[in-house]
């Protein structure tokens, strides 16, 4: 099992290397460390969201409300920043994460306590969250000049040559890699999605595990919400519109099985990077950015086909062996 998943990420890594080599053959400037760092920084929000989404998908759920959560939390912290410009940034970040958690918990409670299918819940909360932004602002934008300088500075502040935004993505990758591989909660995500019945018999509360998955996804979406609006220095209703599907796409390309139980943080990271590199490379290689959507669509389909071949249910093989044995 472990070998298959490792090879899948290796495959993706090779695909990314080939992609980079292809671009570098004509535009060597693209693969300079400085530019690659810029690409990574640009992809950081997608990485953060993809990690959260991956954990949700691990538990056999899906979170379509991440982009709406991001937009709402971003708007809330922007409004707080206007109302209290002096508030320290640590507090703003804490509010962003806290508010994101709250929104994620709403999803989680509905899935856990009322057993409503996750796709329905998050479809509903997605439209509600976006609508609430409109109610808060009556459709007005929060523009750059209304935000305090400190508010806008956080994601671009450089530490050891990399912006804070990149460092946050790196820390999230490490943190959730540890959570998923070294903690009980992390293992229960895999168990709850891999085989809910077996998980229940093993003493894992599947509903509660899903609740925590949504909470984590909400926390990351909230954090990304602040980073997004401060980086682009603008907040409005349609921030990151439709981004939820890009996030799901990153997971699928990264080898996360939509049926639950299969996926790694490394996969989500690579899936996000794959899409990020394409998005950043298109203008460089002089292909109209309008190609991006079709390319990522094609990439998703290819990834699903490859993943399905890798996952050809091992259960059946064991049964056949047992059949031959008797």
């Amino acid at each position: 099992m472990k070998r298959i998943s490792a090879s899948r990420e290796l495959l993706l890594l090779i695909a990314i290397a080939l992609l980079l080599a292809l671009i570098a053959s004509r535009f060597p400037a693209f693969v300079t460390p400085a530019n690659l760092a810029a690409v990574f920084n640009d992809t950081s929000p997608l990485i953060l969201l993809a990690i959260g989404q991956m954990i949700v998908i691990l538990t056999k759920c899906i979170d379509l409300s991440v982009a709406a959560n991001l937009a709402l939390t971003g708007m809330v912290v922007s409004l707080i920043n206007i109302a209290a410009p002096g508030l320290p940034m640590v507090v703003i970040v804490a509010i962003a994460i806290g508010f994101g958690i709250l929104l994620g918990m709403i999803n989680g409670i509905l899935v856990w306590k009322l057993a409503i299918p996750p796709i329905v819940v998050t479809l509903g909360t997605m439209t509600i969250f976006r609508g609430v932004i409109f109610l808060l602002t009556e459709g007005k934008w929060v523009n750059s000049h209304e935000m305090s300088d400190a508010f806008k500075a956080v994601p671009r502040t450089e530490i050891f040559g990399l912006p804070v935004l990149s460092w946050i993505a790196i820390s999230a990758v490490i943190l959730f890699w540890i959570v998923l591989t070294r903690t009980t909660l992390g293992r229960s995500f895999y168990a709850a999605g891999g085989n809910p019945n077996a998980a229940t018999y093993a003493g894992i509360n599947v509903g509660r595990t899903q609740f925590w998955a949504f909470t984590i996804s909400g926390a990351l979406a909230g954090l990304t919400g602040y980073l997004w609006v401060s980086r682009f220095a603008v907040a409005y209703v349609d921030v990151a519109g439709g981004f939820e599907l890009t996030v799901v796409a990153a997971c699928v390309i990264g080898g996360v099985s939509i049926m639950g139980g299969i996926g790694t943080v490394l996969g989500a990271l690579l899936g996000a990077l794959f899409l990020g590199i394409i998005a950043n490379a298109l203008p460089v290689v002089n292909i109209s950015p309008f190609w991006q959507m079709a390319i990522s669509g094609g990439a998703i389909i290819i990834a699903v086909v490859l993943n399905a071949q890798a996952n050809r249910s091992p259960g059946r093989i064991i049964l056949k062996r047992a059949e031959h044995a008797t």
Binding site: M126, T127, N197, I301
Partner: protein, 327 residues
Amino acid sequence: MTTSRNIPDRLRSPLEQSLKSWESLLFLVAIGIFIANSFASPYFLNAWNLSDATFNFTEKAMIAFAMALLIISGEIDLSVAAIIALASTAMGAAVQVGVGTPGLVMIGLSVGLLCGAVNGYLVTGLGLPSIVVTIGTMSLYRGISFIVLGDQAFRGYPPDFAFFGQGYVWWVVSFEIVLFALIAVIYAIILHMTNFGRAVYATGNNVTGALFSGIRVGRVKFILFLLTGLMSGVAAICLTSRLGSTRPSIALGWELEIVTMVVLGGVSILGGLGSIPGVVIAAFVMGLVTFGLGLLNVPGIVMSIVIGALLIAVIALPRLWSMWRTH
């Protein structure tokens, strides 16, 4: 997710069953919204206004019927709005080389069928999960539209092409509402009165059981993907005709509204459960809410809050109610 179906020891009488059904509850909601609207705005009870209001949902509902069958069979198609975009783009490109109205209709329907066939092949032929496949084809189909059009638009549709989206059959009765009613009847017959309809339910309830009963599950699903693609093509013709132009962002986000409509209509997202009358009423509920709030100058995005809350509430409230009763 495990769903346990309790088998009652005594069947309820048919009358009691139909009174307590999802459809009648939804019908009451629709009536309630209708009455509230007519009190809230003096402009609501006007034949022309009500006729205009139907355009809010007719095109979406055409797809929703096919989507209902697809969801009942246990699959989903998120690429429907992208199929509209691609079909509309193909029609727009054909207009530029002078294709007439009959040709445009053929092109719209063929592109829809073709897209549906691709989805169907990927899901049933290769055995891939439909939600991921159609997220992929959604990007792919709309992506092709974007490649063709970029930030441009196709215009110049022939004058008689306008009939599909703007024509009236009789007085305030538009061509679209007639088509909507016709499609509703056809799908109701397919789902509720044919062997194929029973096969759709059987597939959604228990794939293995259906397979062992001799139902060709793969073929049933493939046909449903074809139908969903075809209906997207029909909707593309109506919408393009109504707007008179094609942009790659046409019908953006409709897939989620259509799924909302289907789920609101009482179709279980887990498959195996649902009816066409339910979807018809849900279409009217969504249309009435949108139209009524519009008359009260409530912006569109606030209506989406109502629709989103409705979607969760209609599923949550019965569950809360039964939880409260059992405790």
